[in-house]
C-alpha cells in the first residue's frame, strides 16, 4: 500500500485551487506591479509595457497615497487599542463570578460579529445621521449640539472607528475569555491573602499571564484593520474630502474604477509590505519584552 500516493491525491484538489487562484495571482501581482497595465492593455495586450519600479516611484510621490496610508494608520492606531480594551473589558466582566446570565450576555455581545458588515454599516449611517439620527437625538437630550458624524472630515474617521469597535470586539472577547479561564485561580487566591487590591491583581497577574494571548490577538487585529474597505465604501464612499479613503479603497478605485491594474497592484504590494513590517516589529518587540 502506498499512503504517499494517496496523500497527494487527497491534497490535489485543495492545492490546485490554492495554487491557481491564490499563489499564482500573488506572483502575477508582483509582475503586474512592474508594468503599466491599464485600460489599453486590457483591450490589447500588445500595449503592455514593462516599467520597472515606476509605479512604486509614482505612488510614493502621490499625496493621495500618503493620505490614504495616513487614514489607514489612524484607523489601526486608534481602532486596535480601543477594540482590545473593549474586548478585554467585556471578557473580564463575563468571567467574573459575580456576573449573572452569562450565556445570554456572551451571545448578545458577540452578535455584532456575525452580522454582515454592509448591512450594519447601512444601519449606522442612519443612526449617525446629523438631523434624524438616534445618536444625535440622545446627545441633544443631554445638551450636546448635533454633530455631523459622517459629513465632517474630522468626525468621519472616529465614527468609522466606533463602528469597527462595536462590530468586532466580540471576536477577541471570546479569545480573551479562554485566556482568562486558563489563569490558575490560586494565583489570585495568594494575592488576595497578601492583601493585593483588584487593580494590583490585574496589573501583576492578569496582564502578564494574558501576554501570549494579547500578542497574538493584537497582531491578528492589526492585520485585519489594515484591510479597511467595506466600512468607508458603504458609510462615506471614502469622503468627505477623502478623509476616509483607505489604502484598499485607493487600490479598488485605482484598479476597478480607473482600470490602472499595474499601479493598483503596486498599492496592494506596498500595503502588504507595510503590514508585514508592522506585525514583524510587534512580534520582535513582544519577544524582547518576554526575555527581560
Amino acid at each position: 500500500m502506498n499512503t504517499s500516493r494517496a496523500a497527494w491525491l487527497f491534497l490535489a484538489p485543495a492545492l490546485i485551487v490554492l495554487g491557481m487562484f491564490f499563489l499564482l495571482p500573488v506572483l502575477a501581482a508582483l509582475i503586474l506591479s512592474l508594468t503599466d497595465y491599464d485600460l489599453y492593455a486590457l483591450a490589447d495586450i500588445r500595449n503592455l509595457r514593462f516599467v520597472g519600479l515606476e509605479n512604486y516611484w509614482t505612488l510614493l510621490h502621490r499625496p493621495l497615497f500618503w493620505s490614504a496610508l495616513g487614514h489607514t494608520v489612524y484607523f489601526v492606531a486608534v481602532g486596535v487599542p480601543l477594540s482590545l480594551i473593549a474586548s478585554l473589558g467585556a471578557a473580564m466582566l463575563l468571567n467574573s463570578p459575580l456576573a449573572r446570565c452569562k450565556p445570554f450576555f456572551r451571545t448578545a455581545l458577540f452578535a455584532p460579529v456575525v452580522t454582515t458588515v454592509v448591512a450594519v454599516a447601512v444601519i449606522w449611517r442612519y443612526l449617525f445621521n446629523t438631523k434624524y439620527g438616534l445618536v444625535n437625538s440622545v446627545l441633544d437630550g443631554i445638551g450636546v449640539a448635533p454633530i455631523d458624524w459622517l459629513g465632517d472630515p474630522h468626525w468621519s474617521m472616529p465614527t468609522i472607528i466606533l463602528f469597527a469597535v462595536w462590530k468586532n470586539f466580540g471576536y477577541n472577547m471570546i479569545i480573551f475569555m479562554a485566556g482568562l479561564q486558563a489563569i490558575p485561580a490560586d494565583l489570585y487566591e495568594a494575592a488576595r491573602i497578601d492583601g493585593a487590591s483588584a487593580l494590583r491583581q490585574f496589573q501583576h497577574i492578569t496582564l502578564p499571564m494574558l501576554k501570549p494571548t494579547m500578542v497574538m490577538v493584537s497582531i491578528l487585529t492589526v492585520s485585519g484593520y489594515f484591510q479597511l474597505f467595506a466600512e468607508p465604501y458603504v458609510m462615506t464612499e471614502g469622503g468627505p474630502l477623502q478623509s476616509t479613503t483607505s489604502v484598499l479603497y485607493l487600490m479598488y478605485e485605482e484598479g476597478f474604477k480607473w482600470w490602472n491594474l499595474g499601479s493598483a497592484s503596486a498599492v496592494a504590494f506596498l500595503l502588504f509590505i507595510i503590514m508585514f513590517a508592522v506585525t514583524a516589529v510587534m512580534l520582535r518587540l513582544s519577544r524582547r519584552g518576554g526575555e527581560v
Binding site: L11, L93, A111
Partner: protein
C-alpha cells in the same frame, strides 16, 4: 469593595454593553416595519405607529430582493459544500498520511497566511476574465473552494485520531478512500460542522471580492445588492432597514442555532494564529 455593590456594577455594565451591542439591530427591525418617511420625522420614533410589511413587499416585488437572496444562498452553499470537501481531504492528509516534504509544505501554506487576499485580487480578476468566469456565480465560488485556514483547522483536529484505527483497516485491505469515508469522516463530524458554519458565514458576509467579480445585477449577492441599493435610496431608511434585516437574519439565526460549534472553531483557529 462590598460584594453587593460589585455585583451591581458588574451586571450593570454587562446590561449596558448588551444594550449597545443589540440596540442597532433592534432599531433596524423596528424601523423596517415603519411606513415610508416615518423614521425621518422628529423626534425620531423608536417604534412604528402602524407596523407594516410594505417595505418587505416593495423589496421582493420591485427591488429584486428574492433574486439576491437566492444568489446568496446558492453561492454560500456551493462554497461551503465544495471547500468543506477539499479542506477536509487536505487537512486529513497533512495530519495522518505520510509523504515526503509534508512538514515543509504545510509550513509554506501557513506562511502564505500573511499575504492579504487583496494582493491576489487584481490578477485573479484578469485570470477569471480569461476563463470567461467574470460575472458568473463561478467567479465567486471557484477561488473560495479551498482555504488555508480550513486546512489548518481540520489538521489540528484530525491529529487527535489514533493511527491504530487506520492501520487496522489497512491490514484488512481497505483502500485509502474507503478508510477516509467510513472511518475518518465520522470522527471529523464536529469539526465539519464548525468549518461549515464558519465558511457559510464568511461567504455570506463577503463583500470586496464579489463586488469586483460580479459586475451585473443579476448575479449580485445580498451585501453587494444592499450596498448598491443604499446608494440609490439614500433617503429610504425604512426600505434599507428591511433590506438589512433580510441580509442579516439568516446568518444570525444560523449562528444562534450552532453557536457552540462556531465559538469552538474560533478558539481552535486562534491557537496558533
Amino acid at each position: 469593595m462590598n460584594p453587593r455593590i460589585a455585583k451591581a456594577i458588574i451586571n450593570g455594565l454587562l446590561i449596558a454593553g448588551a444594550v449597545v451591542a443589540l440596540l442597532p439591530l433592534l432599531w433596524m427591525v423596528s424601523v423596517s416595519f415603519m411606513t415610508q418617511g416615518e423614521a425621518s420625522s422628529l423626534p425620531a420614533p423608536l417604534f412604528p405607529k402602524h407596523a407594516t410589511w410594505a417595505n418587505y413587499r416593495e423589496l421582493f416585488a420591485n427591488a429584486g430582493m428574492g433574486r439576491y437572496l437566492l444568489n446568496s444562498l446558492l453561492v454560500s452553499t456551493a462554497i461551503t459544500a465544495v471547500s468543506l470537501a477539499f479542506n477536509l481531504m487536505a487537512g486529513y492528509a497533512f495530519a495522518k498520511l505520510q509523504f515526503a516534504g509534508r512538514e515543509r509544505l504545510f509550513q509554506g501554506l501557513l506562511g502564505a497566511l500573511v499575504i492579504p487576499a487583496q494582493v491576489a485580487m487584481l490578477p485573479l480578476f484578469l485570470l477569471l476574465k480569461y476563463l470567461g468566469l467574470v460575472n458568473t456565480y463561478g467567479a465567486v465560488i471557484v477561488p473560495a473552494m479551498a482555504t488555508i485556514f480550513g486546512i489548518f483547522l481540520v489538521r489540528q483536529y484530525a491529529r487527535g485520531i489514533p493511527d491504530d484505527l487506520m492501520e487496522a483497516a489497512r491490514i484488512d485491505g481497505a483502500g485509502e478512500m474507503r478508510i477516509f469515508v467510513t472511518i475518518v469522516m465520522p470522527l471529523l463530524k464536529p469539526i465539519m460542522v464548525t468549518l461549515a458554519i464558519f465558511t457559510f458565514l464568511a461567504a455570506w458576509n463577503d463583500f470586496m471580492w464579489p463586488l469586483i467579480a460580479l459586475t451585473g445585477q443579476e448575479h449580485y449577492t445580498l451585501p453587494i445588492a444592499l450596498a448598491s441599493l443604499s446608494r440609490e435610496h439614500v433617503q429610504d431608511s425604512e426600505l434599507m432597514m428591511a433590506g438589512s434585516v433580510v441580509t442579516i437574519l439568516p446568518v444570525l439565526l444560523l449562528f444562534l442555532a450552532l453557536q457552540r460549534y462556531y465559538l469552538e472553531g474560533l478558539l481552535l483557529g486562534s491557537v496558533k494564529g
